[in-house]
Structures are given as C-alpha cells and as structure tokens.
Amino acid sequence: MMPKHVRNVLVQYGGLLAVLAVIVAVFSFQSQNFFQHSTLVSIANQIPDLTFIAVGMTLVLIVGGIDLSVGSLLALSSAVLGSLMVDHDWSLGTAAVLCLATGAACGLVNGAIAIGFRIPSFIVTLGMLEMARGATKVVTDSQTKYIGSAVEAIGQPLPGLLLSPAFLAALACVAAGQFLLTRTVFGRYCVAIGTNEEAVRMSGIRTAPYAMTVFVISGLMCGMAALAQTSRLSSADPNAAIGIELSAIAACVIGGTSLMGGRGSVISSFIGVLIIAVLQTGLAQIGVSDANKQIITGAVIVIAVLLDALRSRWDPTRP
C-alpha cells in the first residue's frame, strides 16, 4: 500500500521535484552559504504570501477563470489591517478578521460580476486590480502604515519549531486546497466546470455557486497573504505586491495547471512557488548581475516546464 503511494507521488510530482533538486544542487555548488539552515529559514519566511495566492489562483484557473486582482487585493486587505491597527487602535485579532473579510468580499464582487453578467474574469479582475489599488491609496492616504511589533508574531518563527505561523498556515492551506480539489464534491465540480461547463449544467448542476465560491476563496487567500506580508514587513504598504499575479500564475502553470481550465493540482503549484522562490534567493546569494538574474530566471521557468512536459509525454499513464 505505502510503496504504491510513494510511487504515485514520484510519478505525479517527480518531474517538478527533480527540477527543484537540480536548482538547489546548482546553488549549493555555487555558494557554500546556500545549503544551510538560515537560507532555508529565509525562504520559508518569504513564501507564505505567494503560496496563499497560488492556492487560490490554482482553483480559479481550474474552473476556467483567472484572477489578476490578487496583488491589489493583498494590498487593500493589508491597508485595512494597517489602518485599523494604526489609526483606530484595533487589536490584531479583530483587525485580522476584517482584513480577511476585505479580501473575501472583493473576491465575491469579482465572482458576482464575472459570473452574474458572464463577462470574462480576465476583464473583471483587471478592473478590480485597478480599483482595489486605488482604494488602497484612499485607505492609506498613499502612506506606508507602519504597525510595528503588534503584527509581527504571525511571521515570526515559533520558538523551538523555527517555522512561523504564517508558513504553517500556508502549508495547511496547500494541504486543504489539495484535499478540497481531489476528495470533495466541491473540488470535483470545479474540475468539471473548468473542463466543460455546458456538460455540467446539462447534468443538472448549477455551476454559478461553485465558480463564485472559488473567487471568494481566492480573495480570502489574498487576505491571508496580506496578514503574512504585513507581519513580515511590520507595515502595510500601498504599493505592495504589484505584479504578483504573474508570479502566482507562473507558479501554477509551472505546476501543470492549465489556463484553459479543468486541470491542475495545488501541490504542484506549491512546488512551482518553491522553484520560483529558491531561484530568486539563490540568484541573490551568488550575486549575479541583475540582467543575468532575469535572463536566468526566464530560462529556468521555460526549462522547468519543458522538462515536465517531456517527462509527462513519456509517461504513458498521463493523458
């Protein structure tokens, strides 16, 4: 039983894990400072933001949508948190609830417009990208809100564990997302809707509530990411997370999620996040020039997907 399970994991994630391993190996070879404890902690500290967002994005892509507004939603949720704590002296707990609610509410608006009026989610979330960023500037008055130690606990390593609550929460979201996708009715319907919405409707299932929920989840994940990032920076920055949508989508697509909907895996997206994060960290540590950094990053992204594609073409069990 167990060995078969292990084999399955290797078959499914083997290509990506191999790419990741190669990247780690190269960096370890290039810099003796790379493969060490503090680097791992530093990577573990950075990835929660992108991980949360990639979890939500995976689901959105699977139902055949896209969410470009994630960066702005992160900034807006963070701004709400910052403004409540700094300007109105709210406690972290209650402010955090409103931070999450902000993300979820914006996600609901995205979903309601895209699905209610049958407008491409690309456009709706692009509109939201602009609007939420504008709203962020209104909420913060275009000023960085410095919150200070009150918010730091979330991103600080737990004593003894060396991992932060944010990191653990991100892992939990990955696990929950994967479970949701593969083991629940909700998840299977999401896959079905992304594959052939018309056929799902013909089966007598109302698709709108599922697609809508997925956008809400994506918004909520932005709220989670906002908590993680705000705590890491001890501040809410109105310019936070500009362009993160491309990184998140890249992580998903590296992980094999299809932009056409119907196919994807949360765990693979997480491996995608790891690849991106390790690459960034490693390149910074070996100190290549900025220009080369970009050239290498671009090349590795393409090569990672290329290798995975070749592997799965060779793997007869995958469609």
Binding site: S31, Q32, N33, F34, Q36, S38, T39, V41, S42, N45, Q46, D49, S142, Q143, T144, K145, Y146, G148, E152, Q229, R232, L233, S234, S235, D237, P238, N239, A240, A241, I242, G243, Q280, T281, A284, Q285, G287, S289, D290, A291
Partner: protein, 300 residues
C-alpha cells in the same frame, strides 16, 4: 556581536558587504552600482561586494526578502537604498540583531519608525529637499511672479519623493510662482510623457515642468515637443543621469541636480567598513553633496 564574522569572513578573512538597491534598470542605480564596483576593485583586498536590486522600485517585499537573504548568506554589512522608508525598518532591525552592520543611503528611513523599533541606522545621502529647492530656484530665476508651472512627482511612499516635492514647492512659493497641477508619474519616463502631455493640454499657459527625477524629465521633454511648445516650456529634473546631459547641452532641459549617485554607494560602503573596523564608532549620518547642473556647468 561579531559571531557572523567568524564564518562570514571565511574566504580570505575579507568582510563581505551587500549593496541592496532599487531598480537596476534606472540609470541612477546602475551608475551607483558601477561606482561601488569600481571602488571595490580598487580596494579588492579590503572587502568583497555583492550587488542586488529589485525588479522595479515598488517591489519592496522582494527587497525585504533580499535583506533576509543577505543576512542568511552571512554578509558583514548591508548598504541599502530602501524602496520604502518605513517598511524596510523591521527587517533591518533583524539584520542588526543578527550582527550585521547596516547603512542607509539615498532614500532616508523614517525617523519615527526607527525610534519605535529602537535602533539607529546611519544615513548617508543628500538633502533631497535642499537639492530640489536649488533646482527650483534656478528655474524660478527664469520665470516671473504669477507664472504657472507643473510638477511630476516620484513614488509618493518614498521619502525622497516627498522631500523633492516639498523643495519644489518651497522654491516656487518663494518666487511667487503657482503650481497648477502636481501628479505622480512614479519615476517612469513613459508614464511621465502621458501625464505631462495631458497636463499641458489642460494648462496651456504653463511655463515649466519640474520633474522629481531625470527619467520623468525626459518624458516631459518629449511631451513638450509633441505639443509643439519646446520654445516656451522649461523643464528641470534631478539625478544628472548621462542621458540628460546631452539634453541640457541641447537646451531641452534647463537644469538638474547631481546627487553623485556613483559616490553615494561608495560613501555608504566606506561608512560601513569603518563601523566594521571599529565596532565602537558611533554611527553618524553623512550628508553627501548635491550640485546644481545646467548648461554652463556642463560646457566649461
């Protein structure tokens, strides 16, 4: 607190200095990086240098990550031009706590936040307000009281953008010149071009555009040209990047401020090296010069 030195200086015992900047695609920072690299080559025996920048000037979460990554790769000092005056402070405090020497250049960290975090970080850099004021005054000499001018601001969350706006405002107020519109073009040339074009349509009587950096000034030059008003709208900038020098000689830009970007990092690195050599030195701010640049200064 020199525990990191023990292994960090492992290679040849040289201290390792990390220079963390904003967007390396902005000429200002590439000049800065070149200056630092040249300095390191001259002093190759004294220290090793790692240079890093972020994708664009707003990617501050990445910049915070860079700080952490540099700490974890055991550098001895960090010299940083922060993308945000507040949000970088906590990360820099953690760096200090890990025993890394930190020096702030270019864009000053927020004093209140530094106080709250209970740390001091020396600032090596120019007085941006004074520099902007100098440029503004030079422009005002060519204007009359009651004239209208336009302002292109930098990214509003950065301290130096705010300082330059204030410097412009002061100079204009003193000369009795009216700022009829002031918008942020986020340090970018093409954005500045769009915004300046529109402002010129809306304010046909404007006599000058004050841009908070040279990239935006170049965008404004193009806007003025396509509006066919090259002869009656003057432009000033800030930074003295090589691209504007020709434009100043050609008379397309009136003046800019040279904040000696190539030296800025060097000053910062030297301050850091000094603190490393002598851990007991009290960190002190260093004000670097800002010089007014115009046609006469460029054509001797």
């Amino acid at each position: 607190t020199t525990s990191t030195d023990a292994d960090g200086t492992g290679d040849n015992g040289k201290p390792r200095v990390a220079l963390i900047m904003k967007s390396l695609a902005n000429e200002f920072f590439s000049t800065m990086a070149d200056g630092a690299q040249a300095h390191q080559e001259e002093n190759a025996d004294d220290y090793a240098l790692i240079v890093n920048g972020i994708k664009d000037e707003r990617d501050l979460s990445r910049q915070v990550a860079l700080v952490e990554e540099m700490v974890s790769s055991n550098v001895d000092a960090i010299v940083i031009a922060p993308a945000d005056s507040k949000a970088l402070v906590p990360a820099l405090r953690r760096a200090q706590q890990a025993g890394v020497v930190v020096v702030n250049i270019d864009n000053r960290l927020d004093a209140d936040v530094l106080k709250t975090e209970g740390i001091t970080i020396p600032f090596v850099g120019p007085d941006n307000r004074a520099g902007a004021k100098k440029v503004g005054q030079y422009l005002a000499n060519q204007l009359n009281g009651g004239d209208q001018v336009l302002v292109l601001e930098g990214i509003r969350t950065s301290f130096n953008a705010q300082q330059r706006r204030e410097g412009f405002q002061q100079a204009m107020a003193e000369a009795g010149v009216e700022i009829v519109d002031s918008q942020s073009a986020e340090w970018e040339m093409s954005k500045a071009n769009t915004i300046a074009s529109s402002m010129l349509s809306e304010h046909p009587n404007a006599k000058a555009i004050l841009a908070a950096n040279d990239s935006m000034a170049l965008g404004a030059v193009a806007a003025v040209r396509s509006a066919g008003r090259s002869d009656d709208v003057m432009i000033v900038g800030f930074d003295n990047i090589s691209a504007v020098q020709q434009a100043i000689i050609d008379g397309k830009i009136l003046a800019t401020a040279d904040q000696h970007g190539d030296q800025l990092a060097v000053f910062g690195i030297e301050a850091a090296l000094k603190m490393l050599r002598d851990p007991d030195t009290k960190p002190e701010d260093v004000e670097t010069p800002v010089d007014l640049i115009h046609q006469q200064t460029l054509t001797p």
